[in-house]
């Protein structure tokens, strides 16, 4: 009888898990594994993967790295120890993504804080206003931003009408940064708001009561309690940033290259699937390492937050 019960139980688990497990394995895990295998293959004359296994794709990424210390002052202080096309590409991608995540956080935190302190009616309105861009097509929103910043776009038309110098922002690293922040802001505000809304402000009073100053109360009491929102928001911002394709193309015009964009190119314009796969695998490693590090610093098991 117990045997029959066990069998029915495992049959049930199998029935419930089966379809999802099949989908996840066949259409998510196996494609990633094939991609990983292809990253170790050579390419034929059309750029598609071909038999002999090789490390060449990875060698291509690192082969031009040279020790070449330099200091320059263009766009701030720039200290470099190494040189290399793809090294620079990865470095720029990580750097832009990190900085854009940080800027997004710095803007989103006060907004979420303010929203959480509003009276119920205004809070619902503010939430509604964040939800709309959150649910709006990312491509459409980025396109709207690009439209604004165009050489003959509304901003410059207005500036010219006022007799001022038009600004030439589009297709610069700054434009990419603005695009990343613009695109990801709602994804940072909402999780932060959710954490802050649940935050019980008497905790801060209790901390003050126990002798903590404002900074320490923030550090020791508020930060740990809102860190689920912080971690969720940062991941939801950093991951799309480093892999961004739309923003790099529309805001950077492909000139401020990032890793996601370069990968996409290996599969569209300049066909080289094995090399693109190698770059994709490297990017996944970076993202995974970043996420794991972040979860660690976020204390406890906050993976569940996503």
């Amino acid at each position: 009888m117990i045997q029959a019960f066990r069998e029915r139980r495992s049959l049930r688990i199998f029935g419930l898990m089966g379809p999802g497990a099949f989908w996840l394995i066949v259409f998510f895990l196996i494609p990633l594994l094939i991609m990983a295998v292809i990253s170790f293959m050579s390419r034929d004359q059309f750029g598609f993967p071909a038999p002999p296994l090789t490390l060449e794709n990875y060698h291509d990424v690192i082969k031009d790295i040279r020790f070449n210390p330099s200091i320059s002052f263009e766009s701030g202080l720039n200290i470099r120890l190494f040189d290399g096309l793809y090294l620079e590409l990865f470095w720029r991608s990580v750097w832009l993504s990190l900085v854009s995540t940080l800027i997004t956080l710095l803007i989103a935190f006060p907004v979420a804080l303010f929203m959480s302190r509003l009276s119920r009616r205004y809070r619902n309105l503010a939430l509604f206003l964040v939800m709309i861009p959150f649910w709006t097509n990312f491509l459409v929103r980025t396109y709207a931003l690009q439209f604004m910043l165009r050489g003959n776009g509304p901003i410059n038309t207005a500036l010219r009408a006022l007799g001022l110098e038009p600004i030439d922002l589009l297709f610069t690293p700054t434009a990419v940064m603005i695009g990343l922040v613009y695109g990801n802001l709602p994804f940072m505000i909402l999780p932060l708001y959710t954490s802050l809304e649940k935050f019980d402000w008497t905790m801060i009073e209790a901390a003050h009561d126990l002798g903590a100053d404002t900074l320490r109360a923030f550090q020791r009491v508020m930060l740990p309690l809102i860190s689920p929102g912080l971690v969720a928001g940062s991941i939801l911002t950093f991951v799309p940033a480093i892999g961004s394709y739309i923003t790099v193309e529309l805001m950077g015009g492909g000139r401020t290259n990032m890793i996601g964009y370069t990968i996409a190119q290996q599969f569209s314009a300049s066909v080289n699937w094995p090399f693109g796969s190698a770059l994709a695998l490297l990017m996944m490693i970076i993202v995974t390492v970043a996420a794991v590090l972040y979860f660690r610093t976020g204390r406890g098991d906050q993976r569940a937050v996503l």
Partner: protein, 284 residues
Amino acid sequence: MASDSTVVLLGERSEIKPRPRGEAQRLSPGRFALVTITLFTFAFLYVPIVVLIVFSFNSARTGATWQSFTLQWYERVFNNPRILEAAANSLIVATLSTFGAVVIGTLMAMAMERYRFRGQSAWDGLLYMPVIVPEIVMGISLLIFFAAANISRGLLTLVISHIAFCMPFVYLTMRARLADFDRSLEEAAQDLGADEWVTFRRITLPLLMPGIISSALLAFTLSLDDFVISFFVTGVGSQTLPVYIWGQIRRGITPEINAISALMLVLSIVLVIVAQLIQRRQRA
């Protein structure tokens, strides 16, 4: 906990408690700074969208100088068979993949929430992975997969891929709902003589329905919004709307794009309102 994800993704709120008035009401310098930053942020978020909508009614073909009000770009959108076809594709793909993702995601959430079995934590990890794997990687890996499996790209590959990336979000939403589900309700039904199937049909399903609708809305939106993955798995003649728009943008700006964008924006506002209404009804 997992319920945060629902809250985050769907903007659901926990019950709002009244807070003592007082300090927060005074306009201190700190509060002034918060107000300013918030207003600027909302302006930053909304000005481009509003401007785009306004210019979708501008008769000038290029540039940002206002000429006169016109509806001609909307007319063109509705008379352009390629746009209509792309929109139809988008709706077909979104509908089918929402259905698929909701069914398999909900089933999986039930298994994961209600049973303990070997390998469960591995599945749990795997279900979170699509959230931290960049879209572009998913897109190209699916492209490679379909090429390797010799499956020609089209609506089928789109639906398969959309189910794959929507399903984890449905799973997370439903898992949070199931965690909140009071299982004594099911026991009560069985206690009153309902067998397992009747219990599921009359108790479990109706009570999960709001969660199912929420996750369906989420999946539908994710599918409609997706460009990057669709771009790689789409075939000739099966373009979705975002893929079509992308092609047009790359060819240069046309006022039709502004009009389509404005329409898509209206669609998302409608979806947000629907989602909010559903939540409000749930709460009532």
